[in-house]
Symmetry: C2
Subunit: 107 residues, 2 copies
DNA sequence: TTTGAATATAAAAATATTATTATATAATGT
DNA sequence: ACATTATATAATAATATTTTTATATTCAAA
């Protein structure tokens, strides 16, 4: 059984340039919000909202360290592989009408 | 150099339950819109719009066969691996304050 | 050359996401 | 207690996505 709702949500939440940037930063290891914010050009509240979205989607988690919140990727392997998948996204197919003649006949 | 804009867009377009369903169907091989529609509970125009979104994001392409349009996944390996990644999404990490003591000291 | 099937497109309505602004909270050091 | 730092939250405004409804296009077959 597939839970495509959840999968769709994960993809949707990852599918935002700022959130990808956050993930790339956190791939180097945990970091607090302020530190992350130094490397990303968004407002503090907006970063906080993106971190919340990623956390609610179960992509990030955090733990409190004094007044800071230290965010980290919950399944780093998963995120790493996701990026890797895009860096090398495989063979490309192009079909023409002729390639489908058999299939067409059967439908 | 990363093109996170494009990556984000691909993820965003894939991140919709109906579009994932379309992809799962097309993983079995090319199919025309009508045929696809029989397995998905959305209106014809809406399906057409989803197919357009996937095509514009360079995830699908199609070729005309008579009055039909036969859609197919442009990089099936990529899509296959994407689903596989979610089916087995790897080790899960949980950090506590103590785990970060060193890191914290250096920041 | 009209009809029907397969599909797209346009416009509108409904809904969701994103960014901004202003304010609040919580922990730490003084 | 008070100020400061790090952060969240709430409310709004701006924008984008999604679905619906109605109509148009295109090709093939009768």
């Amino acid at each position: 059984m597939h839970d495509d709702e959840k999968l769709a949500n994960t993809l949707k939440v990852m599918g935002h340039p700022v959130r990808l940037q956050i993930l790339r930063i956190l791939l180097d290891g945990p970091s607090c919000a302020t530190l992350t914010n130094r490397n990303i050009d968004v407002s503090q509240p907006n970063l906080s909202q993106h971190l919340k979205a990623l956390t609610e989607a179960d992509i990030l988690d955090f733990c409190k360290v004094g007044t800071k919140r230290c965010f980290y990727i919950v399944r780093p392997d998963f995120v790493k592989k996701m990026f890797a998948l895009f860096d090398n996204d495989g063979e490309r197919i192009t079909l023409k009408e002729d390639d489908l003649r058999d299939k067409h006949a059967s439908e």
